[in-house]
């Protein structure tokens, strides 16, 4: 839906940034996700295909570096999700 152009912009109409959300994932030995379960809201299901995967390593010079393995997956039933695992502490997140 497109907000009409003459409408006043109010704080409530601003969308928050796409913050990663913790998610529970069952993965295989290679770290590839097999099933997902969101801790709140919808997003549960079995992974039927991996469309893409990539590795992000950055900010190693900071106290909290970034090391994440991303997976763009297709769920049973057709849903598509992007999740990643923080490789430093093992936590999984859903990336909206």
């Amino acid at each position: 839906m497109v907000t009409p152009a003459r409408e006043t912009v109010r704080a409530g109409r601003l969308h928050p940034l796409a913050q990663p959300q913790p998610i529970s994932v069952e993965a295989d030995a290679a770290g590839r996700p097999l099933t997902l379960a969101m801790t709140r809201g919808k997003g549960r299901g079995r992974v039927v295909a991996v469309r893409n995967t990539w590795l992000l390593e950055d900010e190693w010079w900071r106290p909290r570096p970034v090391k994440r393995r991303y997976w763009a997956v297709e769920l049973e039933g057709g849903g598509q999700r992007t999740v990643f695992q923080d490789l430093l502490d093992g936590t999984w997140y859903y990336q909206p």
Partner: protein, 1078 residues
């Protein structure tokens, strides 16, 4: 061989991109089981020869290639599959560099199209044209591009697929594979390797930040997303490409295609043919020339000379080198012609070119005029230069005066042609200070801290940073602190990395074939000059002939002095006809009074000369050779000195060494002696001895060294030499080999040193003027040179707007007048304009007259005033500065007053008497009444002189401060009169700090005061404790114990204080920087 071969790999020769050395990559490839490896650095083959040699040494097959940048900025990977392919690759790289701004190579597609023979093309990394088009879904264009490359490369074009876990990899790979199936173009897997281990990805990030002149934070969009760009094992690649197995197999197929070309074997370099007269061969031409000269030089004829010539001509003929020697003779002729053009007068006396190095041992070189030394007279050993086996082309270096050299380089390239002559590269590499600055900035460390650290460390390897930081109080605790520990770690990794391309100091390569078929050619930083992409080591490995045309400041200095003597005395001296046994000259040398004299002026030399007491030219040859790391590390210097003084018996490690080492009293001092010792003790041939000597120096010779060691021991044992003795001698050779001089080289330099010493003795003013004009050179700053000359009775005068020339010269009364270009901010061009104007319209009549006629900037005018250039006006310097401000008002701010007022109409003080008539009234102005200008104090004048000239012709800071120092602080000149062992204090300007690697951490320092120089010896623990004072303060007070031995006077330092703690003024002047040799 495994099924996978890495075909896309960058080393640190992709400047500020690749994060591993060639050796690291090759070694890792070997460890991972590779049978072949390609090197494909960006737009260059800088590392190609090193890579090929290293691969061969480790049993890998090298594939030569490069990743080129095409005209739209896209990348393409090319591999040489044959000698023709390699030549085409060189041509393409040359075009890319020569037809684009320097440092931004770009290859036009039309040129690529015409040079594809023998080359295999891979579509490149994600920056390739095809991958980019596919990612943008521009299908049609992608198809057209693919067909185009397919046609141009006639079936040798592959689609390059890379899986490095980057976000677009999967889709890009799928699209490339689809395209390949559709158009029947094979796919190939590559790793886009930028380092040998994943851990190096962090250094790679830093390099990218440095390249883009920003921090890691600021370089986010230029850096790679992860650490996957390392050399993976074939098994790992097989897992990544499990669904595209043909991509793996094709790597092997490509490697097989490239097996026909080996850079270490197939280069086909040829030296240019010499243009012989009809019916003659180069051998005959050379023989005829030499025989004619032999009869001229050796009168009466000596049998030994004839025999030596025969032997050399035989060896030269055997190796096919006559054309090579004749080419040098051509260059010598060119040098004479060029010298006449440059100097504008016939060149007589000293020849413009002098050979140095082992070539000086050759009679043929002597007869050709390349060398000034009769090798028979000095008994110079030929085998280092020419022998039966000769693994590489002989090295002939030629020293020239600077101005002649510049012109000669251009002339040589002109005569042989741009296609056949070019300069050799050099690669500045990262050392500790550069690493701190670049890595520190990338890490985002505070720049003031980074700068402070860089200034505090000594000149060392970057890998020594942790050790250095632990010795600096402010940084000791940071070695383990966040970010600083990254600085330490990354500096160690970047140690020795090449930073960028530069020009070798004088090396020119000549080739019979066009050079661009052999190695890529690129523009130098200097307009009109071209470089090949290889350095001297690669040129040597390629067995190319490199001619070194070197500028020797001492030659220029001596030439200038002779010119000035000719001007003042009306005759030109011929230094080849000097009395080489002049007692007065040797008296000065033996006293260590050698400041400014080529090769024997250093602090170390001055400490040795009074002990060795050289009295002949042969003694001087030893003296020149002796102060080098080689003899010092080989523990030869002290034994030599003690034996010369008669304090130690002359002994030999083995009787067979006596004939070889007799002239140097049993110690190894010359490089030739390494060969002669190997021959005498272990039965080596001259060629094997020379091979041993070379292997001792080069970095990738571990295997060769071990082989030679074995051979040496076996040879010695076979001759009945005790094993321990043989081992001991070999160790001495090892310590010595690369860093000693060869005798021939030392002999050439000794002659020049003597000639310089003679000039300094008999023509000290001309000597000084020549020396100052040729700065920078030598061991000491101009300030020290001038101080020393003054103490020898030479009067030195400040620059003068009417009396000075551009450069220093000797006035008719014998004083040295500093040149105008010595004033900071006044360069040679400006100085020439000032002199030209004076010659055109007469002497300057006042400062305003000068300013009106010359258009110098305010800063330049002030510099000239503070340097004393207008003292002749009789006006005070402060007054003159004021006048500048009045005459040179900033543009746009001159507002004409509606009415003239009385205060603007007062004439300038002192001006009327110098301006009798004809000077417009508007110039005769002086500051408004009521603004008194105090004359400058002596300290202010001195301060101004140091600020603009780097010295004072008239006084010394310590001379002015002496009255403020307590009498316990002794002038330097008095030290030699005090008893040995007494406690002393001495103060002065630090002019030199030296910590030779061979001195166990001892630092030698030299202080200068108004009376002379004081030598300090500082033991390591004191220096570490007081490093920030002793190492950084320009003025010091030193407390210590006097040591007088063998005619030498030193102060063994016990404590330092900055002089400003004792007398406040020194902070007000900017002293010249000390010469630090760490």
């Amino acid at each position: 061989m495994t099924d996978y071969v890495e075909l896309h790999c960058h080393s640190y020769w992709s400047f500020l991109e690749g994060a591993s050395s060639v050796e690291e990559l090759v070694f890792q490839a070997k460890r991972l089981g590779y049978g072949a490896l390609a090197l494909t650095d960006h737009d260059g083959l800088h590392g190609a020869m090193e890579f090929a040699q290293t691969c061969r040494a480790w049993g890998l097959r090298p594939i030569t290639g490069a990743e080129l940048t095409l005209e739209q900025g896209n990348h393409l990977t090319l591999l040489a599959a044959s000698p023709v392919g390699y030549s085409n690759l060189c041509r393409l790289l040359s075009y890319a560099h020569l037809n684009a701004p320097r440092g931004e190579p770009l290859l036009p597609l039309a040129i690529l199209r015409d040079h594809t023979d023998g080359l295999i093309a891979l579509s490149g990394c994600p920056k390739g044209e095809l991958p980019s088009l596919l990612v943008q879904s521009r299908w049609q264009q992608a198809e057209e591009t693919a067909r185009r490359f397919q046609e141009w490369f006639d079936g040798r074009f592959y689609l390059e697929v890379q899986y490095t876990l980057a976000p677009d990899d999967a889709s890009r790979g799928r699209r490339l594979a689809d395209l390949g199936h559709r158009l029947d173009i094979p796919v190939v897997a590559t790793g886009n390797v930028h380092y040998h281990l994943p851990e190096r990805s962090q250094l790679q990030d830093v390099l990218v930040a440095v390249k883009h002149r920003t921090t890691l934070d600021g370089s986010h969009r230029f850096r790679r997303p992860n650490s996957q760009y390392y050399l993976k094992s074939p098994e790992a690649m097989a897992a990544l490409f499990a669904e595209l197995p043909e991509a793996l197999l094709n790597t092997r197929a490509i490697a097989e295609q490239c097996a026909d070309f080996d850079l270490t074997r197939d280069l086909d370099y040829r030296f240019p043919d010499y243009p012989c007269p009809p019916g003659m061969t180069p051998d005959e031409v050379l023989r005829r020339f030499c025989e004619r000269e032999l009869h001229e030089r050796y009168r009466p004829m000596r049998r030994s000379a004839q025999e030596r010539l025969e032997e050399e001509l035989r060896l030269i003929g055997r190796h096919g080198l006559s054309g090579f020697f004749l080419a040098y003779q051509q260059i010598l002729d060119l040098a004479r012609t060029v010298a006449v053009e440059v100097r504008g007068r016939p060149y007589d006396g000293l020849a413009p070119a002098r050979g140095r190095g082992s070539s000086v041992s050759s009679v043929v070189c002597y007869l050709l005029g390349l060398s000034h030394i009769d090798p028979l007279q000095y008994d110079l050993f030929l085998g280092r230069f020419l022998n039966e086996e000769l693994p590489s082309v002989p090295d002939i270096d030629i020293d020239l005066p600077r101005d002649v050299r510049e012109a000669l380089i251009k002339r040589v390239i002109q005569v042989w042609g741009k296609e056949h002559a070019a300069l050799v590269c050099a690669f500045p590499t990262y050392h500790i200070k550069g690493a701190i600055r670049d890595v520190g900035k990338a890490l985002g460390l505070p720049m003031t801290e980074v700068d402070r650290l860089a200034k505090s460390v000594e000149h060392r390897r970057a890998r020594d940073l942790a050790e250095e930081m632990r010795q600096i109080p402010q940084f000791k605790e940071r070695v383990e602190a966040p970010l600083w520990r990254d600085l330490v770690r990354l500096s160690a990794e970047i140690d020795g990395f090449p930073r960028h391309v530069s020009q070798h100091v004088g090396g020119i390569v000549l080739a019979g074939r066009p050079l661009i078929d052999l190695v890529p050619v690129m523009q130098s930083a200097m307009a009109g000059r071209y470089l090949i992409q290889w350095d001297k080591d690669s040129v040597d490995d390629a067995r190319m002939v490199k001619i070194d045309l070197l500028a020797l400041g001492a030659l220029s200095q001596v030439d200038e002095a002779l010119d000035m003597i000719a001007e003042t005395d009306g005759r030109r001296l011929d230094l080849t006809r000097l009395d080489f046994k002049d007692k007065r000259v040797f008296d000065g040398i033996c006293a260590g009074d050698t400041i400014g004299i080529f090769q024997i002026e250093s602090r170390a030399q001055q400490q040795t000369l009074p002990r060795t007491q050289p009295r002949t030219l042969e003694d001087l040859v030893v003296e020149v050779a002796i102060i080098r790391p080689g003899p010092i590390v080989g523990k030869a210097v002290n034994p030599y000195i003690l034996r010369r003084q008669g304090k130690e018996t002359v002994t030999y490690d083995h009787p067979s060494l006596e004939p070889v080492l007799r002239e140097t009293l049993g110690v190894i001092l010359y490089q030739e002696q390494v060969i002669e010792v190997a021959m005498a003790l272990a039965g080596f041939t001259a060629a094997q001895g020379e091979g041993l000597r070379r292997a001792m120096g080069r970095k990738h010779s571990q295997a060769a060294m071990q082989a030679f060691h074995r051979q040496f021991l076996e040879g010695a044992l076979a001759r009945g030499v005790d094993g321990e003795v043989a081992e001991g001698v070999f160790t001495k050779l090892l310590a010595f080999a690369e860093f000693g001089f060869n005798k021939a080289h030392a002999a050439a330099f000794a002659v020049l040193a003597y000639q310089a010493a003679w000039l300094r003795t008999y023509y000290p003013a001309h000597f000084l003027a020549g020396l100052l004009n040729q700065q920078p050179m030598g061991f000491y700053s101009p300030e020290v040179l001038v101080g020393d000359a003054k103490r020898h009775g030479v009067e030195v005068r400040a620059p003068d707007a009417n009396s000075s020339r551009v450069s220093c010269h000797v006035e008719s009364d014998g004083a040295v007048r500093l040149g105008l270009r010595f004033v900071k901010g006044v360069e040679a061009k400006t100085a020439q304009a000032l002199v030209a104007e004076r010659e055109r319209r007469g002497p300057y009549r006042s400062l305003p007259d000068f300013l009106r006629r010359t258009y110098v900037s305010r800063q330049q005018a002030e510099g000239l005033i503070l340097g004393g250039a207008f003292d002749w006006t009789g006006l005070e310097r402060r007054e003159l500065l004021w006048q500048v401000g009045l005459v040179q008002r900033p543009v746009g701010q001159q507002m004409p007053l509606p009415l003239e007022t009385a205060q603007d109409m007062v004439p300038l003080r002192g001006a009327p008497s110098l301006n009798p008539s004809g000077v417009p009234e508007g110039e005769e102005r002086r500051p408004a009444a009521g603004v008194p200008l105090e004359p400058m104090t002596a300290w202010e004048r001195l301060s101004g002189e140091y600020g603009t000239l780097g010295l004072s012709p008239y006084s010394h800071p310590l001379g002015l401060l002496r009255a403020h120092l307590h009498e316990g602080i002794v002038p330097a000149a008095q030290l030699a009169h005090l008893p040995d062992g007494v406690e002393v204090q001495v103060a002065g300007l630090v002019v030199c700090r030296q910590r030779p690697g061979t001195a166990g951490g001892i630092v030698f320092m030299v202080l200068e005061d108004e009376t002379g120089l004081a030598n300090l010896i500082v033991y390591p623990d004191l220096y570490q404790r007081q490093r920030l004072v002793a190492g950084l303060e320009p003025f010091l007070v030193v407390r210590g114990q006097l040591q007088r031995r063998d005619g030498l006077t030193n102060v063994i330092a016990q404590g330092f204080q900055p002089l400003r703690a004792v007398a406040r003024k020194p902070t007000a002047i900017s002293p010249p920087r000390a010469r630090n040799f760490y």
